[in-house]
């Protein structure tokens, strides 16, 4: 079962979405509009997110995906279709006996100037059976842009785990605290 959801944003919205498996989410963000989108899922999904940005529009996207025994695939496709449009995407994955893959594409055409686009992908692997793939794809065709992308993949910090256990938390509790800490540090880049 696959589903397609279309959203047309023409004002300022805050949206929380529980991502379904095999879903496509299309966001059309109109001139001067602004969207803050929180996406989450805890059971492993395959999803594609298409964002089209018009002049002066802003999009902030935060994804939090926890998967256990199921793989997660997320593809984002951000197209800057209007000048001075801004986008910030921050996708985080926590994998337990599973694999996550994140493909992020940013397109800025030649005549669309003054854009800002940021992409961050962070992955925590909770055991040796987990892995993460990250593929940034930046298609930028003019010089007047600010664009960044970054990725981290790693296990939980042993020193942190030890510290928390020494304060009396069990190993499982310590992992839980650190996973929460990992997922809570989402910083909005644009205030509108």
């Amino acid at each position: 079962m696959s589903s397609i959801s279309n959203y047309v944003v023409d004002k300022v919205i805050d949206s929380k979405i529980n991502v379904q498996d095999n879903s496509t989410l299309n966001f059309d963000i109109k001139e001067n509009a602004s969207a803050c989108i929180f996406l989450k899922n805890s059971s492993g999904v395959s999803t594609k997110i298409n964002i089209t940005l018009h002049e002066n529009s802003v999009c902030e996207m935060f994804g939090m995906f926890k998967s256990k025994n199921h793989d997660t695939n997320v593809i984002t496709n951000v197209i800057h279709n209007g000048k001075k449009s801004k986008c910030n995407q921050d996708f985080r994955f926590i994998n337990k006996k599973s694999t996550s893959s994140f493909e992020g594409k940013i397109t800025i055409p030649k005549h669309i100037t003054g854009c800002e686009s940021y992409m961050l992908n962070k992955n925590i692997l909770l055991d040796d059976d987990s892995s993460a793939f990250s593929k940034p794809e930046l298609n930028i065709n003019n010089e007047d842009v600010i664009c960044t992308h970054g990725c981290t993949i790693g296990a939980l910090d042993e020193d942190h785990l030890f510290y928390l256990q020494h304060r009396g938390l069990t190993y499982e509790e310590a992992v839980e605290v650190l996973v929460q800490a990992f997922s809570h540090k989402r910083v909005r880049k644009f205030y509108t």
């Binding site: 910090d157 256990q165 938390l169 540090k185």
Partner: protein, 227 residues
């Protein structure tokens, strides 16, 4: 209360602590001083169960076998270590962390004031962006929240300014009788201010000399050369 008999600690077949024996009772302050690399921090870390050490010997806390316990069990049994370099954990606030184990969360704000840690401390992320001194104060703050039996202070004074040190020494002195103390340092001045019950000199992984506060004067004059 804490009894260490013939403790040996090795890291990758290299012996760091050899044949160390020590008994610490409630209300006693044991100062441990020694040159860099003599095994002071290894002793502290091995006692609280840090991984990567091969530990042999007997360690009991209130007659309970410590070495067979996990890190968590040791903490719950009453071992408390103030870390030499505490980590910072972004994403979790000081207050949230304390809530996980503390028995006196209600007094947390007062404790922050008494340590002069600044008005927003509980809302700040754990040690995130904190100075070395603030981290040490935070360790003391954790001590006030826990109710341990034996407190190990590893290099208490690093990063602390004169005033902060005074505050911390005051707090320790007020609680001297409540716990047993093992205070590790390479500076004799701080140890003197604490007025320790016993002073141990650690060198090459074993206690080479035990005595009163006069040992610290000797170290001041002669250094650690034991001739």
């Amino acid at each position: 209360m804490l009894e260490i008999k013939n403790l040996e600690v090795a890291v990758q077949d290299k012996k760091i602590i050899q044949g160390l024996s020590l008994t610490i009772n409630k209300g006693e302050v044991h100062a441990m001083i020694g040159p860099n690399g003599s095994g002071k921090s290894t002793l502290a870390n091995a006692l609280v169960g840090k991984q990567g050490y091969e530990v042999n010997g007997v360690v009991t806390l209130s007659n309970k076998d410590v070495l067979s316990m996990s890190v968590t069990e040791r903490a719950k049994a009453g071992l408390f270590l103030s870390f030499q370099s505490p980590p910072s954990i972004p994403g979790i606030t000081n207050y949230k962390l304390v809530q996980h184990y503390s028995t006196r969360v209600k007094k947390y704000k007062n404790d922050i004031l008494s340590l002069r840690l600044g008005p927003c401390w509980e809302q700040r992320n754990f040690n995130d962006g904190a100075s070395g001194g603030e981290r040490k104060k935070n360790e003391l703050l954790q001590l006030l929240q826990a109710s341990p039996k034996l407190v190990i202070l590893d290099e208490l004074d690093t990063g602390l300014d004169v005033d902060a040190l005074k505050i911390i020494l005051q707090i320790i002195k007020e609680r001297k009788d409540k716990y047993g103390w093992l205070v590790i340092s390479h500076s004799s001045k701080v140890l003197k201010d604490l007025d320790p019950t016993v002073v141990h000199i650690l060198n090459n992984g074993s206690i080479v000399e035990t005595g009163g506060i006069e040992l610290l004067d000797k170290v001041d004059k002669q250094g650690f050369k034991n001739e």
